[in-house]
Amino acid sequence: MSNRIDVKKTYKLFINGAFPRTESGRTYEVKSAKGVFIANPCLASRKDLKDAVVAARAAQHGWNKATAYNKGQILYRLAEMLEGRRTQFVDEIVTVTEVSKAKAEKEVTDSVDRLVWYAGWSDKISSLSGALNPVAGPYYNFTIPESMGVIAAIAPETPSLLGLIDSIAPIIVGGNTVIVLASTKAPLSAMSFAEVIATSDVPAGVINILTGKKDEITPWMASHMDIDGLDISGLGGKKHAEVKSAGTENLKRIYSFKNADPGRILAFMENKTVWHPIGL
């Protein structure tokens, strides 16, 4: 053992491509399962959420406009960056959750592979869900899935990294931008994943990550009029009714998911049908 004092990381939020502290100045303590102090991450405020929504809204048009090929490559780049930093993520998962190293390694492996899987959907999802509709008349008529807009997500408490990937990747691969609330007890994976994002050519504002309390932030997300959809997979089932009710003011699309499948991508896409006459 060297006597060197190691340099610890300050865990901050990730909003609009930058790493700000919460404007509220509030933090909370994260401890390992055995009670050892690990970090003081931010307790994000309503203002932090608003800032993240503004960034996500501003970024949405450009991200949506990016070609499917480009979006797929950027998601793949996230996988590349995560692969290169496996050790760090394994260490953090072990430190916070005190699972075995093998289990943590499997979670990181699954996370990398999951990103690659989602990356491949970017230029295939519209052939899965789109249609050329044979209407009874001289019209060319087609339906295509389109991005819904700005989506918020509550990541599950565990697995903190793989759950985060499932809360981000299906949403952005469809052309949406996202504000995700990380696992409260194990936010380190999320905040380190922000560093992966920052080095993967993801445009600023496309992915925004908050840390804090679910009970505090979820109602703000549900009632925010400029959030179009909400993934509540990480929220306990008992809270779902309340959140869905709060989301009706702008008829927010609110879903929870059990699996990673294309339906998870399509849930936050809108189908657009276009008609045009055929003739001379």
């Binding site: 008349g137 869905k244 189908n271 657009k272 049908t273 045009h276």
Partner: protein, 483 residues
């Protein structure tokens, strides 16, 4: 302007001899017509003549209908093969075609819409919806929801008064094809074609309880929405009521689809074919008296062509024939109810008071019944109520723009997102605009076209889900990964 057309049309009234309307109706539950307890009159909005007495469904009626639907689902419909279910739907489609004139006349009498529209649009499209969905019944495993998609069970369906039979078809046909049974409530002012449809179900020998129809008002609808025996709610109507339903259903496991309001932009670019655009504007807002959720109620005109388009539009509007809906030459029929007429008057008065300029086509409105002349407002700003709120009448708000991006921004400046129109002769611009517009249905160089194969439904506050096509069918099936 003001110059009258030099020739007039002789009246060409459709005969009403084909329909027989009973003095009083009950509900259709478990395959039988059962007496109602309380009744209210349904009138012809073009004459205010009382056509019949309609039952106001209460708790016991809704309970009985749900019970009948559950029994039919459990004992018959869920056990029948898709192939056999489909054959019932084909039968229904065929009988609707056979009795199409009867449906059209009854629809026009009860709703006030021109016979030309009920005859050429509502009824044939309704039959087409049943025919289309009939073919899905034995092909559900190919609907993209996995190999074993399942019906929800009992669907509660609440429909509006603007396309009474067509909205019934949009709801009932996919529900039955997917294997659900239904409890349907038609709108308070337009129950007659739904009750005639019940006769069609009898003629088709549809098993008892597969389709149940409970008539009534909003209170009856609320009983359906809140009924614990219902698995799926489908509603078409206002965004205001849609939000109430969404809130009511939030704590339950019911699946929901909502087709709600709109404030569609109809954008005319300077390179549009002007005469065709004018026809498209007229069709967009005056079709069905503007009682259309996807009506092109905001005309977004490029400034360089605004004067020319408005002059031609006014000329064209002066030739719209307003009057007897039973006359085959009529273009614009009666407003569906006094209540709706008052709403249109209230919103147009707000247009006046907020500073927009009103112009109405010169026309003689009948003395009896509910009528509103085709009207446009110019000088409308985005903050005006007539640019933001759904009027649901023959009233068009005109806004202008200079650059294409400004046109798109104005079009998208609304909490609604149901439909939009684009007029331009330039292909790349049409496709660009269709990508930019935040709406579920885009009509480019056309407007107000509908087809059972074509998914219809809104973005944002215009609703949840689609109707029509494979996308619409999926709303009646379990199998999607999210809940």
């Amino acid at each position: 302007m003001g110059e009258k057309l030099s020739f007039e049309y002789a009246p060409a009234p459709e005969s009403r001899a084909l329909v027989s309307i009973k003095p009083k109706y009950g509900h259709f539950i478990g395959g039988k017509f059962v007496a109602g307890s309380k009744h209210f009159p349904t009138i012809n909005p073009a004459t205010e003549e009382v056509l019949s007495q309609i039952a106001r469904g209460g708790k016991s009626d809704v309970d009985a209908a749900v019970k009948a639907a559950r029994k039919a689902y459990t004992t018959t419909w869920s056990k029948m093969s898709g192939k056999e279910r489909g054959k019932y739907l084909f039968r229904i489609a065929r009988i609707m075609q056979e009795r199409s004139r009867e449906f059209a006349v009854l629809e026009t009498l009860d709703n006030g819409k021109p016979i030309r529209e009920s005859r050429d649009v509502d009824v044939p499209l309704s039959a087409a919806h049943f025919f289309y969905h009939a073919g899905w019944a034995d092909k559900l495993e190919y609907a993209g929801l996995g190999t074993t998609p399942k019906a929800h069970g009992v669907a509660g369906q609440i429909i509006p008064w603007n396309f009474p039979l067509l909205m019934l078809a949009w709801k009932v046909a996919p529900a039955l094809a997917a294997g659900n049974t239904v409890v349907l409530k038609p709108a308070e002012t337009t129950s007659l074609t739904a009750l005639l449809f019940a006769e069609v179900c009898q003629q088709a020998e549809l098993p008892a309880g597969v389709v149940n129809i409970v008539t009534g008002d909003g209170s009856t609808g609320a009983l359906i929405v809140n009924h614990p025996g219902i698995d799926k709610i489908a509603f078409t109507g206002s965004t205001e009521v849609g939000k109430i339903i969404a809130r009511a259903v939030a704590p339950t496991n019911k699946s929901v689809t909502l087709e709600l309001g709109g404030k569609a932009a109809n954008i005319i670019f300077e390179d549009a074919a002007i005469d065709e655009s004018v026809e498209g504007i007229v069709n967009g807002i005056f079709f069905n008296q503007g009682h259309v959720c996807c009506a092109g109620s905001r005309l977004i005109l490029q400034e360089s062509i605004a004067d020319e388009v408005l002059e031609k539009l006014k000329n064209r509007m002066a030739k719209i024939r307003v009057g007897d809906p039973m006359d085959k030459n009529t273009d614009l029929g009666a407003i569906n109810s006094k209540e709706q007429l008052l709403k249109i008057r209230e919103l147009t008065a707000a247009g006046d008071s907020e500073g927009a300029e009103r112009w109405s086509a010169p026309c003689d409105l009948p003395g009896k019944g509910f009528w509103f002349a085709p009207t446009i407002f110019t000088g409308v700003t985005q903050a005006h109520r007539i640019a933001r709120e759904e009027i649901f009448g023959p009233v068009l708000s005109v806004l202008t723009f200079r650059t294409p991006q400004e046109g798109i921004d104005k079009a998208n400046n609304t909490p609604f997102g149901l439909s939009a129109g684009i007029w331009s002769e330039k292909g790349s611009k049409v496709l660009w605009a269709s990508q930019q517009l935040r709406a579920g249905v885009i009509w480019a160089n056309t407007f107000n076209k509908f087809d059972p194969t074509s998914p219809f439904g809104g973005y944002k506050e215009s609703g949840w889900g689609r109707e029509g096509g494979r996308h619409g069918l999926s709303a009646y099936l379990k199998g999607v990964s999210h809940e």
